[in-house]
């Protein structure tokens, strides 16, 4: 007897065909990323019968393999209320998760490398002030004094002190444990094979039914939406991430740049995690892989802002599959074609931080019919407009 790669370690034994007795629930969730798992948790906490179907492992794609930024800074104005609510939730993340997910409110410092970028920072700061977000602008001298490791190319930076980072490998699985403890059913290796209105969902030979369906399927959320006549231009987005060997600890803040061509942070163990550019993927398998050339570009960009990184060893790389939207804003809200279908996908490379609050908001939409965060900008129908997507000066970039 031999095992093969394609025999999933955790797959449930096959029932030998379709199970004719459907499993019923109040809410079905497709996709076990941060948003889906958090929705399961928040719904279960309020007594809702929830079944979540995940094609692979919980947090196996975008939620688990991103940079780990917990960041309000730099976001599109439409996303700021959602980010602020998320940040509030992060203050209690350990309680919500029931375990340490290495959340560190270390601050997010966004750098300018020329005058135009500095103006960009000032413009965003002014806008964000309207939402109550306080940033600290560091000029050339101040940034040199406080962060002596930056190179000459760095001329200014904007610090949002309450931003930070966490370990993406831990968040979704931790929320999943809590969701299960609260009574939710989370099924891994349950790839959805068909969805019928109603809703009747077939996965792993089992039928599931519920009057409410949450589409938190990340990149694959596009397929679910298309199934119900709401196709959206979602692309597979694969952030290219590299990790150095452990280096003496020097950098306590998350570092981003205007333009988003590189972003990095050093974890207390010493490794510098840097990203920039995109890897490649085949979402049908699914399989994704980081690429060397974007990696080298990110390395050079990182060395430009932090010269001491030159000569460090890159020991590891990764990427994953996220849903990227043309306007880099998620699709979030009720379906326009199908009652009971609620979307939350396409977080375009910056959904890690939002996941827990998105799940909570979804639970409010389902149970209360309302939430306190404006969602109009995330409406799925925005892609149906005759004139297409408008040019947007705030369009966020992958970071």
């Amino acid at each position: 007897m031999s095992a093969r790669d394609d025999r999933r370690a955790q797959a449930k034994p096959s029932t030998g065909g379709l199970n004719r007795v459907p499993i019923t629930a109040d809410v079905l969730i497709i996709g076990g990323g941060g948003a889906g798992v958090s929705a399961a948790l928040h719904l279960a906490k309020r007594g809702t019968r929830v079944v979540l179907l995940e094609r692979g492992l919980i947090g196996g794609q975008a939620s688990g393999v991103n940079h780990g930024g917990v960041r309000q800074q730099g976001r599109h104005p439409a996303e700021i209320p959602l980010a602020i609510r998320s940040r509030r939730l992060w203050s209690n993340i350990q309680e919500l998760c029931g375990s340490d997910v290495e959340f560190d409110p270390c601050g997010h410092l966004k750098l300018a490398r020329n005058a135009e970028q500095e103006a960009d920072l000032l413009r965003w700061n002014e806008m964000a002030k309207g939402y109550g977000l306080e940033t600290t602008m560091l000029g050339r001298n101040a940034i040199r004094a406080q962060h002596p490791y930056f190179g000459e190319s760095v001329i200014a930076g904007s610090l949002l002190a309450e931003d930070g980072s966490a370990n993406p490998r831990l968040l979704a699985p931790a929320l999943a444990r809590m969701a299960r403890a609260a009574g939710a059913t989370l099924l891994e290796h349950h790839k959805v094979e068909s969805i019928e209105p109603g809703f009747r969902v077939l996965a792993n030979g089992q039928e599931f039914t519920a009057p409410i369906l949450l589409n938190t399927a990340g990149f694959w959320g596009g397929e679910v939406a298309a199934r119900f006549g709401e196709p959206v231009p979602v692309e597979s987005l694969n952030p290219n991430m590299l990790v150095t060997e452990p280096l003496p600890y020097f950098c306590s803040v998350n570092v981003g740049v205007v333009g988003g061509d590189v972003y990095l942070r050093q974890i207390p163990r010493g490794n510098v995690i840097l990203g920039g550019g995109r890897g490649e993927s085949d979402p049908a398998l699914p399989r994704s892989r980081p690429l060397p050339d974007p990696g080298f570009l990110a390395m050079r960009k990182a060395i430009e802002i932090i010269p001491r990184l030159e000569g460090a060893l890159i020991i590891r790389s990764w990427t994953g599959i996220d849903g990227g939207m043309p306007d880099a804003l998620p699709v979030m809200g009720w379906s326009h074609t199908t009652p009971g279908l609620l979307h939350a996908f396409g977080f375009s490379g910056h959904g890690f931080m939002l996941g827990p609050a998105v799940g909570e908001i979804l639970s409010e939409l389902v149970l209360d019919g309302r939430t306190d965060v404006p969602l109009e900008a995330f409406d799925i129908a925005r892609f149906n407009r005759q004139d297409g997507v408008e040019p947007d000066v705030w369009k966020t970039r992958l970071e």
Binding site: P173, R289, P292, L313, I315, R316, S317
Partner: protein, 446 residues
């Protein structure tokens, strides 16, 4: 046709030799400065011992491999000191880093991966201390550097390498202070009929045993290392004999290695499917008997695909080259391929018997104490892994960082799988295998 051969051990050498005979000029990439592989590693210039002293009964084969490397270098695009750190099966590209640190992209139509093997580790408390090495490491120290790893050395392992190294050290005037063979006599005897598939090999083992006995070196069968003690270096080994009694022996060098483990990282990046081999208790890339894989243009040969030893590696290297030639539409001699298949079949019978006689001490690995630094790179303990609810090894890695360090799990991977499987109460194959990404070894940031 652009053919690349990765590795210049016995498999790579024979592959390149046959390609050159067919009029192909391959790119030949080797990570170390010279050919021969680990098994026939040459000392650097300055050392004087001859092949007989270095390789014993294998001297003639070692010499032939070295001579072939020397002859072939001028007939191929020879790139020593060069690491292949990534393979992209879609566009058929390798990424390399040369001796001066420069990186390059090397295209291939067909690539033969002859990536060799390394020690299969058995982590025990204290194994990260200076003075503790792999068993193959201790042999390389002797062969390539003329060193014993300490004044009083304990060898812990199983199978032919254990006996061979004990004998080589004894011959060099540094007999080991302690030899712990994990296999019991019963296991060895039960496998004896199978070992007869290779009478010469089996007799060699018996001869080493007899010679060691004459020199007063005792081999403790069924004995296992428990803990390396010492402040900043190995000072004593705590071990357990076949009857379960514990002993403490003062040593300043401890070599630990329980068979070998293929370096399969490039095959993994190529997307070659892996299957669990119950005999070697390892996940191995799948290939046909000619070395073809399911991935177009990717061929495997030698210990990098499955542990078979240097004789098998030479045969498999030749066979993989013939497969490349055949797949390129050139004729090959069916008598030769038949002959290679027959010899590989015979060797496989012997190898199977060896694996049964000298198995990896999986239960001992699974039971390692919680405080054992299972992952050397990240200094993560077996207890950390056991404390997770990870159903498989990649989750274990994600939760604990085991296997995330500079070596990317190539050292602790198999033992970690045993620990996790035991904690989950399932078979070791059911916790899966660690999946890799580039770079297969660290690459300098520039």
């Amino acid at each position: 046709m652009s053919v690349v051969v990765v590795g210049a051990g016995p498999a790579g050498v024979r592959a390149v030799e046959r390609l050159v005979e067919a009029g192909i000029r391959p790119v030949w990439i080797e990570e170390s400065p010279d050919g021969g592989g680990r098994v026939f590693q040459k000392p650097p210039p300055g050392f004087s011992r001859d092949a007989k002293a270095l390789y014993g009964a294998d001297a003639a084969r070692a010499q032939a491999i070295h001579d072939t490397v020397a002859r072939l270098r001028a007939q191929v695009d020879w790139r020593p000191g060069t690491l292949v750190w990534n393979l992209r099966p879609g566009p058929r590209l390798l990424n390399t880093q040369g001796p001066d640190g420069t990186t390059q992209e090397v295209p291939y139509e067909r690539v033969i991966l002859c990536t060799g093997a390394m020690d299969r580790a058995l982590p025990i408390p204290g194994w990260t201390k200076p003075g503790v090495t792999g068993l193959g490491a201790a042999q390389i120290a002797l062969k390539a550097q003329g060193l014993a790893i300490g004044r009083r050395v304990a060898l812990c392992g199983t199978g032919p390498l254990l006996l061979l190294l004990a004998w080589q050290l004894t011959k060099a005037g540094a007999p080991p202070a302690l030899v712990l063979e994990s296999a019991g006599w019963g296991q060895t005897l039960r496998a004896a009929p199978g070992l007869a598939w290779n009478p010469v090999g089996a007799l060699r083992g018996l001869a080493w045993r007899a010679a060691l006995r004459r020199k007063g070196v005792r081999i403790h069968a069924g004995a296992l290392p428990l803990r390396v003690e010492g402040a900043d270096s190995a000072q004593a080994l705590l071990w357990r004999d076949a009857k379960g009694a514990e002993h403490r022996t003062e040593v300043d060098g401890v070599a630990i290695g329980y068979g070998l483990k293929p370096e399969t990282q490039l095959a993994d990046l190529a997307g070659v499917p892996f299957a669990f081999d119950t005999l070697q208790r390892l996940w191995l890339p799948e290939r046909d008997r000619a070395g073809r894989t399911a991935v177009p243009g990717v061929y495997l040969a030698g210990d990098g695909a499955s542990i078979g030893g240097s004789v098998v590696a030479e045969l498999a290297g030749t066979r993989a080259a013939l497969a490349v030639i055949e797949d390129a539409g050139q004729p090959v001699d069916p008598l030769e391929t038949d002959m290679i298949h027959r010899r590989l079949w015979l060797e496989a019978r012997f190898r199977a018997a060896l694996e049964r006689a000298f198995p990896y001490p999986a239960a001992h690995a699974a039971a390692m104490p919680d405080e054992t630094l299972l992952c050397r790179c990240e200094a993560i303990t077996a207890g950390d892994l056991r404390a997770t609810d990870a159903p498989e090894v990649n989750r274990g890695k994600a939760f604990t960082r085991i296997g995330m360090g500079r070596c990317q799990g190539r050292v602790c991977g198999p033992a970690g799988a045993e620990v996790l499987a035991a904690a989950r109460g399932c078979a070791v194959q059911d916790v899966g295998r660690l999946r890799g990404q580039m770079p297969v070894k660290p690459v300098v940031m520039a």
